[in-house]
Symmetry: C2
DNA sequence: CACTCACTTTGCGCGAGCGCAAATTCTCTG
DNA sequence: CAGAGAATTTGCGCTCGCGCAAAGTGAGTG
């Protein structure tokens, strides 16, 4: 196995505040792995033997209910940690992670977490900061689901995706990975039909441009208006 | 200020795995505080100067949207940590905590968290385990909101409350603190009207018994059926 | 290059649950 | 113990968004 170079992870948020030699020590027990598009990286309920950092690509995190319903918990972007069940005292992954596109990840054995987080406190702090913002984001979603209409929820979801993974193009900002109406529906608690109708309407208004598994926001500002407007309960 | 005794916190989940003398060291910088019913313990957006453990009572954690909408994030029971923004790298509380009944809490200055969690790794591990289950619970709520009808959501919410804070009485299991239809509505994303209608119906079926700010589950099993049944999207 | 399958669009009807309103009941306060 | 206010119940109409159905449109594959 070729030795991984510190430059791979230098500058990534989880490793902020670590010196070069520390980066190397952190990297030493890590393995680099590739996953093809739509291949699972880990499965819900499986034992959490590894935790991960995404080097390249996008990962979809999905939770499935006992009744077989799927909900997209979040998308992971480059440079984020994921699968950190261990850091939260869990022995199994609470959700399934699937490569949304071809991905490159780093994987550490979960058993090393206690040692790594003690030896490199910044790593622990960075990770728990991420956990904090995910917790807050989850609560935000609960609130959106409680208080907003479908139109606003979809608008908010798109804006969030654009903020996290937007890529500028000639026609606006494009979501950087393949995403279907069904996916958006699973993120917002709507049906793909309703999402499709909304997107068509917005396309007509010139707010978005979308094709098969592709969404571009041409007028983010007007979309923000959609996200905020309308009376609430 | 009277010195606090280790027995106060011995056996509480956050302090599991600490020795008696360690408990005393942890307790040394803590202050004990009382809060009257309906008084805020901390406010959303305020700087997180303290983190807390609830010794007695029940605390309601509420998040308010910019538009003034309120959503109940969770209830805290005896022996739980809360207000741990600091441990997640946040400087402000993301929500407001209100004493649902008269409460006794322990408060530590946030600035001590790094030192305490390093000196007593078990404390850190216990806390992050709690964070992990809260994150998972938040996702569970997102999923419920996405996939369930109001009736099931209310049933699930009641069952969760009963599990966390149930107190056995002659007529069933009672939720141990005052809770209004409005509160239940804010937990489930419904209106108090719909909650009221549901509870009336269930009362007629002999599943619950409820009065002003009081809810008793007389037939948890039948309520579980309500929570699970019904076709889903 | 055609075929197939996945994804998307669109129409139509219906029902859960909200919005609004008003009446009722319980609890606390003075 | 009476009055006031908070909490709860209940009715009614309406709308949003789902359920179901079917047709249309790409994009990848043999």
């Amino acid at each position: 196995m070729p030795k991984l170079d510190a430059s791979l992870i230098a500058g990534l948020p989880p490793f902020e505040g670590l010196e070069k030699d520390e980066l190397e020590q952190v990297l030493a027990p890590a393995r680099s792995l590739r996953f093809e598009r739509e291949k699972p990286i880990f499965e819900q309920e499986a034992e959490a033997h590894f935790f991960f950092v995404l080097l390249d690509g996008h990962v979809r995190v999905v939770r499935t209910t006992p009744e077989g319903q799927q909900v997209i918990v979040r998308y992971i972007s480059e440079g984020e940690v994921f699968g950190i069940a261990t850091a939260l005292g869990r022995t199994a992954y609470p959700a399934t992670a699937i490569a949304a596109v071809d991905c490159v990840v780093l994987a550490w054995p979960s058993a090393l977490w206690p040692e790594l987080s003690t030896r490199f406190p910044a790593l622990g702090a960075n990770t728990y900061r991420t956990v904090g913002s995910r917790l807050q984001e989850a609560h935000t979603r609960v609130i959106e689901m409680s208080t907003e209409q479908v139109e606003q929820r979809v608008a908010h979801a798109l804006l969030r995706l654009v903020r996290q993974t937007g890529r500028k193009t000639g026609e606006g900002i494009e979501i950087d990975f393949p995403i279907t109406r069904q996916d958006i529906a699973e993120m917002t608690g709507a049906t793909l039909h309703t999402v499709s109708r909304l997107m068509s309407a917005w396309e007509g208004e010139g707010i978005v441009k979308s094709g098969r598994k592709r969404v571009t926001i041409s007028d983010p500002h007007r979309l923000m208006l959609k996200a905020e407007s309308r009376e609430q309960r």
